[in-house]
């Protein structure tokens, strides 16, 4: 029973991180109709920046004066950095391409992926970076006769807060209305006097922020390594395909499904664990191409 609870928590932890990545991917697609192949690399960038800041001299100073709180305050730096990168990428690289067929969107974001992967290698080197001090500071709580890291529960909470926050932004604020209007009809929104270009930059930056946040929260538990983004992107794809591209609820449910299946897979069928996920995505695409929550 204890094992079951711990595995369930593990899958929630995993789902929380996946949700952060996939929600950003889905938001960007929903508003701008761009499938961002570099999204996984942006997640990796967030992980690297956060690990670098927390593990570096700034992190030591912060933990000396403020302790754990100082480190936790530094953690979102990665997400903010990625959001800034996103705000630069959208007007320079993506904006000239909106009128072109979507093949070019895939190509340019693939080029961006190659650039980002090597930029991270250049900036942070080949050795894995971690922000493990946060995990150590937080300690663990007993579950049954076993100990479970408190940090994992913290990440699950972050995932929930992010889901609620995004929902609130999209469905309860004026900005959300503008976002949804632009998503439904770009030209109509522009005709009504909305600055569509600015909405696009904001949407892209928020999507990038989510990816960076996913990287930032994962890095105290798992080290940032080269290639982590490429792997994460495919899993985020599986999530949004199951849930429906462009749907926030879909990203949440998809992340939970993938998290549960992956945890069960590692426990019971480790050889085909990944293959099963891709096959689920394929089955969903065949039966319900728009995903569980997608609109046509």
């Amino acid at each position: 029973m204890t094992i079951f609870i711990i595995q369930l928590l593990n899958s929630f932890f995993y789902a929380a991180v996946l949700f952060l990545i996939a929600a950003g991917l889905s938001l960007i697609y929903g508003v701008m109709r761009i499938v961002n192949l570099a999204h996984g690399s942006l997640y990796a960038l967030g992980a690297y920046v956060s690990a670098w800041v927390v593990g570096g001299t700034v992190g030591h100073a912060a933990s000396g004066t403020l302790g754990l709180a100082g480190l936790l305050l530094l953690l979102p730096v990665g997400a903010v950095a990625v959001a800034v990168v996103g705000a630069v990428i959208e007007p320079t690289l993506l904006r000239p391409l909106y009128r072109r067929p979507e093949e070019y969107h895939l190509l340019i974001t693939f080029g961006l992926l190659m650039i980002l992967e090597d930029a991270m290698k250049f900036l942070f080197g080949g050795t894995p970076l971690t922000a493990g001090s946060i995990m150590d500071h937080m300690g663990s709580i007993p579950i049954g006769r076993l100990l479970y890291p408190t940090y994992n529960l913290f990440v699950i909470a972050i995932g929930l807060i992010a889901a609620l926050g995004l929902w609130w932004i999209i469905y309860r604020t004026k900005f959300g209305v503008i976002l949804r209007a632009t998503s439904q009809d770009r030209r109509m929104a522009a005709a009504l006097g909305l600055n569509v270009s600015r909405v696009y930059v904001q949407a892209f930056a928020i999507g990038c922020f989510m990816a960076g946040l996913g990287g930032a929260v994962v890095v105290p538990a798992q080290a940032a390594v080269l290639g982590m983004g490429i792997e994460a992107l495919i899993l985020a794809f599986v999530v949004v395909v199951i849930g429906g591209l462009g749907s926030l609820e879909g990203a949440l449910v998809g992340a939970l499904i993938v998290g549960l299946v992956r945890t069960a897979g590692i426990q019971f069928f480790p050889e085909i664990e990944l293959a099963v996920l891709y096959l689920i995505a394929m089955a969903v695409l065949l039966i319900r191409p728009t995903g569980l929550f997608g609109r046509a």
Binding site: E102, E117, L286
Partner: protein, 341 residues
């Protein structure tokens, strides 16, 4: 974009249609045939890789350029061909390259028929994601079932043990690798020429025209009586077979097959080379594949950050030269001839 295509169509129909490209092709083939005696073996190996990737890109472009479907999972068919050859050599002890080709083609055909059957139910972005997801199924299997596939170590295929042309050419004894490189270049060149001719015929056949009609307007194409999904499926299988053949030919030259060729960034490379050459032209993928191969080799040799370099090239290409090398050259040539006449 549509204007450029229309112009190009006009150019090809003005000239004496069949013999001029044929003469140019034969001239290029003769130059290619003379090259190994002029350049050092390393260049021959590089060119062999380039020609092999050209076959893959040619197959890929039947889908992208002629049917209008962007596959992000062509690593699957390349890998299916490569791994089938590795299995044939390792488990059946086969030595004949022809046997490997037949087996590898069957493997690639099987996989592409299966995957294609699923994927052609969608177009546009969903097609891309489906092909991507399916190729990753193969990757994860090759990655995890290490007792079958060797995992990340891959499977070794020794070129010295292989024979070409039904045992007529073998590489036992001293100087094996040099002789293999020399003979294999001509072997690949022959198959490349054959593949190009077959693709030319396919593209210019009524079937090829039907594919282009589907690409340009699916609804009208189905009104004319073309069964869109079946045509797409057939195009998918042909495309997979070409890419599979490239995978088959690639293995003995590389000497090793690893899950890397099934991983999705490799699919991205196939897309990259096709766009580099220009996917709206027949020769674009060929030029693009050979160029990409050189570009990558020299980038890898000159900097640790070769991926960054290639990424910048791709971004600049998409922003500035979306019609690729051949497309841009054709446009410039058209402007030049118009200017002089």
């Amino acid at each position: 974009m549509s204007l450029a295509v229309a112009k190009k169509g006009a150019i090809t129909s003005i000239g004496p249609s069949a013999w001029r490209p044929a003469v140019v092709a034969i001239a290029i083939l003769l130059v290619l045939a003379a090259l190994p005696s002029l350049v050092d073996p390393y260049q021959t190996v590089l060119l062999t890789y380039g020609l092999i990737m050209a076959i893959a890109a040619l197959g890929f472009n039947l889908l992208l350029g002629y049917t209008g479907l962007l596959s992000f999972g062509h690593s699957a068919y390349f890998g299916a061909g490569a791994y089938t050859v590795a299995f044939i050599v390792r488990d059946l002890g086969a030595q004949s390259m022809e046997l490997c080709i037949v087996g590898g083609l069957l493997g690639a055909l099987l996989i592409s028929a299966l995957f294609g059957f699923v994927c052609v139910r969608h177009t546009r972005i969903f097609f891309g994601i489906l092909t991507l997801a399916l190729s990753q199924v193969l990757w994860s299997l090759a990655f995890k079932f290490f007792w079958v596939t060797g995992g990340t170590d891959g499977i070794r295929v020794a070129s010295a043990k292989l024979t070409l042309l039904g045992g007529f050419v073998n590489f036992a004894g001293p100087g094996s690798f040099q002789r293999f490189v020399f003979a294999y270049y001509y072997y690949v060149l022959g198959l490349f020429a054959l593949a190009t001719v077959i693709m030319w015929v396919i593209v210019h056949s009524p079937f090829g025209k039907a594919l282009q009609a589907i690409r340009d307007n699916e609804t009208r194409a189905s009104f004319v009586g073309i069964s869109v999904r079946r045509y797409r499926w057939i195009a998918f299988v042909i495309s997979g077979a070409f890419t599979g053949l490239a995978g088959v030919l690639w293995v003995p030259l590389n000497g090793l097959t690893t899950p890397d060729i099934l991983y999705w960034p490799f699919s991205g490379e196939i897309v990259f080379m096709t766009v580099l050459g220009g996917f709206r032209t027949f020769t674009g993928p060929i030029v693009g594949a050979v160029m990409f191969n050189y570009l990558k080799t020299y980038a890898v040799a000159s900097t640790e950050y070769w991926q960054l370099l290639l990424g910048v090239v791709l971004v600049v290409l998409v922003l500035a030269l979306p019609s690729g090398i051949v497309g841009t050259a054709a446009r410039l040539a058209a402007r030049f001839t118009r200017g002089t006449s």
